[in-house]
């Protein structure tokens, strides 16, 4: 490890101090062996530090999943020992079935899946099209539009959430009652209010833009020689070459959509329109057992965790690449 990372950047102050103490005094008589032993010890300490930190990060989540299988009595009995982190004792799926009995969990889950899927799918199209127009076509004022879009990145969502609630409540809405279409006012308590405001995303446009400018324009020319229009170039040439950008934007759109909390809390009242993250808070207020809360939490966490583990490289890579450019 010493070849890449400075060994002194250890997990805790101890390896640093220890390593120094090991190398410095021995430097004169047995420089080589002393330093080697010191390095080995530092490496060992680093490894121990990593494992301990790993436990700190995974422990609480392990506790969550394990507790979801236990009745409350067992959870509290196991607290002071290692058993708290192991699926031992009175184990069953009772908590899980209880969640389904008490709340329309399947409905809430479908809501969340639907909202996230539509936000990701439409968001990919809308933002990549805009980025294509900005990156590959020549027109007056495009630099200005690009600058304006990037400038919107500094506005935290929290600052505009409240005026936005007031605003979406004024927007016209088409409601379908059987075969009747009725024009009403206000988007509160609908599906679209959970999706439409988040479709266009300045950061996604920026990521696509960055990626599109790195694709050689000769490809456009060749395609145009063959008689392809711009939309065809977008769909058949540029997009198929943009896999990594698409994956990045998809991940960075999916996570906040799935985890969104503040916005649906303010704009959704009906239970049948609620996403799972709001559902769990209402579930918590029903005074159910901790085991059942943990079961609910496990069911909305495990799928995302499984996705993350499956696409772990793309996941971490996308976050990293989104950071460097900032």
């Amino acid at each position: 490890m010493a070849t890449v990372t400075p060994p002194h950047a250890g997990p805790s102050p101890s390896p640093t101090a220890d390593d120094r103490a090991a190398t410095a005094p021995h430097a004169a008589p047995t420089a080589r062996t002393g330093r080697q032993a010191g390095r080995r010890r530092a490496a060992w300490l680093t490894q121990t530090g990593r494992v301990l930190l790993g436990l700190v990060f995974v422990g609480p989540l392990l506790f969550l999943f394990v507790s979801s299988l236990k009745p409350d009595l067992q959870i509290f009995k196991d607290l002071g020992s290692w058993r708290a982190f192991l699926p031992v004792g009175d184990i069953s799926l009772d908590n899980y079935t209880a969640v389904f009995d008490r709340v329309p969990f399947a409905r809430l889950l479908l809501n969340s899946i639907g909202i996230s899927a539509v936000t990701v799918a439409l968001g990919l199209v809308i933002n990549s099209l805009a980025a294509f127009g900005l990156a590959r076509l020549r027109w007056r004022g495009k630099q200005l539009v690009l600058t304006a879009i990037i400038a919107t990145l500094i506005v935290p969502f929290e600052t505009l959430a409240l005026p936005l609630v007031w605003w979406v409540n004024k927007l016209p809405n088409l409601r379908a009652e059987g075969f009747h279409l009725e024009l009403t006012q206000g988007w509160l308590d609908t599906y679209q209010v959970q999706v439409v405001p988040f479709l266009a995303n300045a950061f996604s446009i920026y990521l696509f833009y960055q990626y599109f400018t790195s694709i050689p324009t000769e490809l456009d020319e060749a395609a145009r020689m063959d008689g392809a229009g711009w939309f065809r170039i977008y769909r058949r040439v540029v997009m198929p070459l943009s896999g990594p950008a698409i994956a990045t934007v998809a991940i960075l759109t999916f996570l906040p959509a799935w985890n969104s909390y503040l916005w649906p809390l303010m704009v959704v009242q009906s239970e049948e329109l609620r996403p799972v993250m709001i559902g769990i808070q209402y579930f918590f207020q029903l005074n159910v057992s901790w085991g059942q809360i943990m079961a609910y939490a496990s069911m909305i966490t495990l799928p995302v965790l499984a996705l993350f583990l499956a696409f772990q490289k793309a996941f971490i890579g996308s976050i990293a690449s989104s950071g460097v450019k900032g």
């Binding site: 990593r50 930190l53 969550l64 805009a130 539009v145 935290p156 929290e158 600052t159 950071g323």
Partner: protein
């Protein structure tokens, strides 16, 4: 990159002047029209759901607008701001928000750097640790908050674990004590998000060319010196990015508060965003809430502006 695209741009321009082939219209006007419909959907949505609300925040803050009200909103001047000035909850919110950010920004950034250095090595198992440290980031803050609510209970996991190593210990009700509630939320927030910034540091670390370390080795730079004179200066851009993203995230503290303490006990954990949301959606006082949002926005702008200035100055 700018050079490359600049050079490439010259060529299509010359082809565009040539007579078009096979009826394909290649005039600049056509290209501009195509660009217009491609950019229009995103641009329209951004205007409707981002620009309009920002403008509204400025307008509504000076009115007595309510979310559901039979009467139209009327202009009240600085009334909302003077009310805010005399509201002790606002000052508590502001203080808590600032304390939270002042602790979380340096601690989380520092800890994330330590983690990044730990998992930057090319030894076996590094990838596993990266994944382990990152797992809380993927877990939603609502779930994390509920889970930690249990950990922090008087008869919860944390007290039980402390009691094992320290038998005479008096259990603390962490979230119901004015002295420990905010620190408890700070600790949990760092635990959840530190992996995210570890990855950003890591991407910065990996852009440092290996030759620099080799050169440093020849000059005898090891350990702390190696970090101080090679690693740290090379991370300048990453540093600015991390500083600003953590600050904005920290100032926007809301979910943890809403799930764990609702601002209590005795307003010891209420924050500016939490207060704004409570005013705006529970009391439906949009005008007043917009004024709070505006103050928050100015706070974010000032803090990130100052940070940008400071980090730029040193470069």
């Amino acid at each position: 990159m700018a050079l490359a695209t600049g050079a490439a741009r010259l060529r299509p321009r010359s082809t565009a002047r040539r007579p078009s082939r096979g009826g394909v219209r290649t005039s600049r006007g056509h290209e501009a029209r195509t660009a217009a419909w491609m950019v229009a959907p995103a641009a329209t949505l951004l205007v409707v759901f981002l620009v309009v609300p920002v403008v509204l925040a400025f307008v509504l803050a000076f009115t007595n607008a309510r979310l559901i009200s039979p009467r139209p909103a009327s202009f009240v001047g600085l009334h909302n701001f003077t009310t805010l000035w005399g509201d002790p909850v606002f000052w508590a919110s502001l203080r808590n928000t600032v304390v939270f950010a002042a602790v979380v920004v340096p601690v989380q950034a520092g800890l994330a750097l330590v983690l990044a250095l730990l998992v930057n090595a090319k030894v076996r198992g590094t990838n596993i640790f990266r994944t382990l440290y990152f797992v809380p980031v993927v877990t939603s803050m609502v779930v994390v908050s509920l889970l930690w609510r249990f950990l922090y209970q008087e008869d919860g996991l944390l007290n039980a674990m402390i009691a094992v190593v320290h038998p005479s210990y008096q259990p603390i009700d962490w979230l119901n004590d004015t002295r420990t509630a905010l620190p408890a939320i700070i600790l949990m927030s760092i635990w959840q998000a530190v992996g995210f910034h570890m990855i950003i540091w890591l991407s910065g670390l990996q852009t440092i060319p290996g030759e620099l370390y080799e050169a440093g080795d020849l000059d005898g730079a090891t350990g702390w010196k190696r970090f101080r004179y090679i690693t740290w200066p090379c991370l300048a851009a990453t540093r600015t990015f991390i500083l600003i993203t953590i600050t904005i995230a920290a100032l926007s503290l809301f979910t943890q508060i809403n799930v764990m303490t609702q601002g209590g006990p005795l307003d010891s954990t209420t924050t500016v965003v939490y207060m704004a949301v409570r005013t705006g959606y529970q009391q439906l006082a949009t005008g007043y809430a917009s004024a709070i949002s505006l103050v928050f926005f100015v706070l974010v702008l000032v803090v990130s502006g100052v940070q940008r200035f400071l980090t730029r100055d040193k470069d």
